[in-house]
Symmetry: C2
Subunit: 415 residues, 2 copies
């Protein structure tokens, strides 16, 4: 790629439709840089019929995706729905090197086959959110290998050490005299070069990626390209509404979980968290969501809105039919037995799980373990709407709706 | 090159001959690191009949070599005379990249042909000092190109930023907030990798190269090789005995200068400087030089020793015959007219040169310019033993023996 002057792009006036698109893209995001530039990109894309190129960089690992991972995918889907192209950039180049610091000797470099298999696994899951036809999968070894040692040196000449040390984690480690290996300084440059190679218009990432995304802007400018905009997305709060969703916190919804599990978990979240999830997980338009908020303000039961969210999520990861069945089953279990809106939330620390009777006592639903056992034997205890028959059942980490008799309820998180 | 444990080298007892070799290698040097290691390398090389590999890195520019440049060549020649192999490492890899910072846009990258022509030019001059048969010429693109971007990243993982910032010039610039481009950090690593690729036993360089030479030691250790020793050489003082020899100071002897010029210039240096030059420029053994010193201590005229040095130098760069002719001519010019041993040294600042009469006055050889003109017209002024006929002659920068009548002498440096 040679160095050239950026072509002077003509300015296209933004229409109200562009403003609506901008609002959709911004919804739920942490930061969009630079907003005016992005509005102009939207306007020019519309006027010229040229989709924007929206990049997401991925490690070629094969995670089991949970709902938290889908926040950024959802944003990409919104961009696809606006007519733009999504690029899944698989960072295979560095994975083929392995961990060059040698600190992680137990993790050998991935093979080409493993990388492609992992990328496919990821893509199959992501395809539940994304439109396959508007998604390109690219591997950065395509341009990083041909770059060569000489090309990497030229790239490194574009950036000063002082600029790289502005990155928070580098600055902190440098100040603390914690070692920074020299190759770590090269990774932001390689990532930025990916944006050059892809002629990216927008790059998405977590908040912690902001610095690296900005490097891409600068390198594109240097290579005579219009710099990409960057969109950072927050981490999704888990079922408890407090901690970030993660497997280790057991406050997650896996996207391969069974429909009823998924439905029930969404129904268990607080109303406040529901609105946050609407912003970050739903593909409904801003206008629809604003309509829901207005209706609840006018007295509609927020439970209905939560059902709509649960159905949307189950439909996405399973099917419309599965969503309907899950709703029917949920209502059958809780029929005449509706969970109250203001259920108390309780967290119990028991990473190995604990017997149901102890859980009832600790959650404040029974005055003693023996009273709890009696309640179970009398058939008065329900977990997620289902009667508990086994007094010795051990409840593992997770979030559950627990009910004793008609009136005692709690949303209990075991962790 | 894979990572392996260094083979456990057997220890060979050093003989007196090894100690003599060590003293020869150390002569005139700034620093030899690590001396005990090097003595062991010498002993093992002798016992195993395996020459040591002595590396000198060179930029592929084509300098006109002066005597100052030959100090390190001379040291290499001493190593060859001890039976070892010299490797001229041409740093073509980075020259093929050009100046990647783009600061020097007027200097385009050298072509492969230019690099090889420059290396040949340099080698032809260096071959006046070195034994061609014991000299390998290598180009570092041989292993730097195949290294690739991935290999360079792995290499960069071997070193921390903090370690690189120990290098004096980096530390200084970092402290002053002067920009350090990231690629500059990679050059010491590339240079160190050259030592790995060459399995170097000893690397020579100027004092300013010490840091980079040490990087080579560490990388070799990492790659399972016995680390190279490093030998730093000082810069040679020029004819004036004060400033380092350089073209811009006009205190140099070019190795292509005519025999008589060369001879005369050596004869013009002070006795003190003569001993320094013996250490750094002569290939005579330590024992011979010690013998000369003893003779002078016992009353021998140091001029004889200076003649021997001048003849050695002219012989090296021209021939034995040319050296004899130069001596004869020198003696003819100064016959019955011997220059005194304790000639005063005078330095005159006149970068554009100045008329001979003014020079005589400023050098204290004439009380006034008009008196100097009279001396010239009377045929009483000699410059390097030759009668000055032209009273308007302009004397450019350089060092000369000036004489007025039989008794007024000075060694005058115009600069």
């Amino acid at each position: 790629m040679s160095i050239a002057t950026a072509p002077a792009a003509s300015v296209v006036p933004a229409t109200p439709a562009d403003e609506v698109a901008l609002a959709t893209v911004k919804r739920g995001c942490e930061e969009l840089l630079v907003e005016a530039e992005f509005l102009q990109k939207l306007a020019r894309s519309r006027a010229g019929g040229q989709p924007l190129r929206c990049k997401l960089g991925l490690d070629p690992t094969a995670p089991d995706i949970h709902l938290g991972h889908t926040v950024v995918l959802n944003k990409l889907r919104q961009l696809q729905d606006l007519g733009h192209t999504v690029i899944f950039l698989i960072g295979d180049f560095t994975s083929l090197i392995g961990d060059p610091s040698g600190r992680n000797t137990t993790r050998p470099p991935l093979t080409r086959e493993q990388i492609e298999a992992n990328a496919q696994t990821y893509f199959q899951q992501a395809a539940l959110v994304l439109d396959r036809d508007q998604t390109e999968i690219r591997y950065n070894s395509e341009w990083s290998d041909p770059l060569g040692a000489g090309g990497l040196i030229k790239l490194a000449a574009r950036y000063t050490l002082a600029r790289l040390l502005e990155r928070d984690d580098f600055a902190k480690r440098f100040a603390e005299n914690s070692p920074i290996a020299v190759h770590e300084l090269l990774y932001p440059l390689m990532q930025g070069y990916d944006s050059v190679a892809l002629r990216s218009d927008l790059e998405l990432g977590g908040t912690d990626q902001k610095f690296n995304l900005l490097v891409g802007r600068e390198l594109q400018r240097h290579y005579g390209q219009e710099p990409q905009c960057i969109l950072t997305m927050p981490l999704l709060e888990g079922l408890d509404g407090v901690e970030k969703m993660s497997k280790s916190k057991n406050n997650y919804i896996g996207i391969t979980e069974a429909p009823f599990e998924m439905f029930g978990k969404v129904m268990s979240i607080s109303d406040e968290l529901m609105w946050r999830w609407y912003d970050l997980v739903s593909t409904r338009s801003n206008a629809e969501i604003a309509g829901f908020r207005r209706e609840v303000g006018e007295g509609r039961n927020p439970r209905d809105i939560k059902v709509a969210l649960a159905q949307e999520i189950v439909t996405r990861f399973h099917s419309k039919r599965a969503a309907e069945q899950a709703l029917a089953e949920f209502e059958a279990r809780f029929r005449g037995n509706a969970a109250p809106e203001d259920m108390p939330g309780v967290t119990v620390h028991a990473p190995q799980g604990l017997p149901i009777a102890q859980l009832l006592r600790q959650a404040g639903l029974a005055p003693s373990t023996s009273e709890a056992v009696r309640n179970i034997e009398q058939g008065g205890v329900r977990l997620d709407g289902e009667k508990v028959a086994d007094r010795a059942a051990v409840i593992g980490p997770g979030t559950y709706v627990l009910q004793v008799g008609k009136r005692k309820w709690a949303r209990v998180t075991v962790q």
